[in-house]
Symmetry: C2
Subunit: 383 residues, 2 copies
């Protein structure tokens, strides 16, 4: 396709794929799109390993990395006091709630003290210091984009990327954020509507995209939130976006490392089965509605903590829940969930990621043809 973003990023289709799974990233990049590896809560060593693998599998084609750099995080996590400080900042009642929850759903507890420390290590990556290490690892690879999933990228990130000649992208949920991001040096704005999976605001893609496009022009804007088909990609471009950024749609691909019971839930879910909840990360994030989200909103819940403390409480628990769900435990299956947007209702078959790209491109062309029929204008060279 003939867009500025395609020319600038050296891709065939202005379709950016956010995934935590390196196989998806490579498959989309190899199919003519642009894969972006979500490196949230990775250790620097793990990220290094993943990027080396991607380098080996994309033959020089462009891909990117997304690092979560939170703008505002829990005070306890800012001190730089390490794992013990982080762990000490989690109130006892949150651990007790978890223990009670596991008991009520008949899910065996993991080795609790070990799990706590492992979670805290993950949580520690979601601090400014943690993110900085991940940025350094990323920029040492031939990446074509570095993205900040949450909040304005810190000057350090922008400076390091500019020095390396790498464009910086950032996700925004309002046009005010978009203005701030561009002022901070962002080269590509991802306008993400409230229907998106993961951390998200409340303004819908249909409204947000034209607002952000007008606000930051001529900086290119990718539309995100609810997009899983070529029709929606065409809609996004009609709204003025230069391309799309999709996350959810890859979760049910063949390559995705999505746990089987979660994949089943995703394939069965309708667009009504998601909820914005703070129960996994401490910030509102859209995810499958499950017993987990219900219990955190229930009368016994101590309420979600801030980021990254809630991640320390929740992510180790969810890892255990997912593992146990895989063995068929009904309580764990009821609790299991994952971050996903409202487009989960459109994700009903398992396909290779490459096929998702090709299907979106074909569906896009069909949507453009339909629009041309409406205006009574047949594209040149067609009967």
């Amino acid at each position: 396709m003939n867009t500025e973003v395609c020319a600038r990023f050296g891709i065939e289709f202005p379709l950016f794929a956010f995934s935590h799974c390196r196989d998806v990233v490579a498959a989309v990049t190899n199919a003519g799109g642009f894969g972006v590896l979500g490196a949230v809560a990775y250790t620097p060593d793990r990220l290094e390993e993943e990027l080396r693998w991607i380098d080996d599998h994309v033959g020089g084609r462009p891909y990117g990395v997304d690092v979560l750099v939170p703008g505002r995080i829990d005070k306890a996590a800012e001190g730089g006091g390490g794992l013990d400080t982080l762990l000490a900042a989690v109130p006892d009642e949150h651990w007790s709630f978890l223990v009670g929850l596991f008991a009520r759903y008949d899910v065996p507890l993991p080795d609790f003290e070990k799990a706590k420390r492992s979670n805290a290590r993950g949580g520690a990556q979601v601090t400014r210091e943690g993110a900085t290490e991940l940025i350094d690892v990323s920029l040492a690879h031939p990446i074509g984009l570095i993205a900040s999933a949450l909040g304005t990228p810190p000057p350090l990130m922008v400076d390091k990327a500019k020095a390396a000649g790498i464009p910086v992208a950032a996700l925004v949920g309002t046009s005010e954020h978009a203005r701030r991001q561009v002022a901070a040096g962002v080269d590509l704005v991802v306008a993400q509507g409230g229907e998106a999976g993961g951390h998200t605001g409340e303004i819908s893609t249909m409204v947000l995209v034209p607002e952000v496009v007008d606000t930051v022009a001529p900086v290119p804007v990718l539309a995100a939130g609810g997009i899983a088909t070529g029709r929606q990609m065409a809609a996004a471009l009609a709204l003025g976006a230069s391309g799309v950024w999709c996350g959810s749609v890859w979760l049910t691909t063949e390559e995705a490392e999505t746990s089987p019971p979660v994949k089943e839930k995703l394939l069965a879910a309708t667009s009504r089965d998601t909820i914005r909840s703070r129960s996994r990360t401490g910030k509102p994030a859209r995810q499958l509605r499950s017993a987990w989200t219900q219990e955190w909103e229930g009368p016994d819940s101590p309420g979600a903590l801030g980021m990254p403390l809630q991640m320390i409480v929740a992510e180790g628990a969810m890892r255990q829940i997912t593992k146990v769900a895989e063995s068929g435990n009904p309580g764990a299956r009821a609790l299991a969930n994952y971050f996903v947007g409202q487009c989960v209702g459109l994700m009903n078959t398992v396909k290779p990621a490459r096929q998702v790209v090709y299907d979106m491109v074909a569906d896009f062309a069909e949507a453009v043809d339909r629009l041309n029929r409406v205006t009574g204008e047949e594209p040149a060279g067609r009967p």
Copy 2:
């Protein structure tokens, strides 16, 4: 434009305009769109007067009527016991809360007993019996469409409309609702995303429209929710819709009877300034965030009642608030609000309704051209 909906409804542009203001309805119809008069809470006599005026001003061009027929309403309102039964069903604490609210914001109370009865008369229209009278009045005019704003149209409405040869439309917020509506005999489905003003669900337009299109094909679908520009109209058609249904965008037109202080608020508001609240009708309805919506969510609030009881409490109060706001009372200006979608952020200038139609059509054509440039296909007959 060349769509099935244009052919079927005898219009030039598949742009349906929902408005409580007859001048907007006539202006849109005369500009080549399709005006739909929202007849919620009208008395039969008032509706008769409005429709006669429209007949006199559209020269036979097509227009429609929207009647609110609630699917589930407060038990007290179902009894058919009239105004006294309705009034008796409103708890005293709700009236006391209103009295306290007016005092705190220094807004003079209306003649309270008179206002209560007048409100109850309005509320009584929002029962099945009330709606039936409005349907009869509507079908006696040369209307081209009758719509049900909320819930499945009752068999009575469908039967009467079919007998009169008038297509029936219904608003839906989920594909399950859409399936039910079509089974009930609806000819045109309005898929309304959660970003819409007024009664609305939670699934966004970007996700809902393709879902509903696939669910009810070949029944035509109009996209609604967040749409105020031609770019968004093009996006809606790319998603598979046969046209669009817009409500909010007319509120800031020259013709709209929107109260000046409310119009000012609408022009100044951003897409972040709306909220889904039960405080005006008893069902979740998107509206401007104001001191009114905040107070009903505050610690002193008795909580919203069901429909139509909450309308009886709220609508008379809002009429008084709006009237007093027009005289400059600061408390009343803080409380005043109106139903509007997130596209309020795109409504920044006052224009004639006719001009809104023309601007949307021009903007639509530009968006289609942009899409053609992306696919590298120039429409035939262009340089």
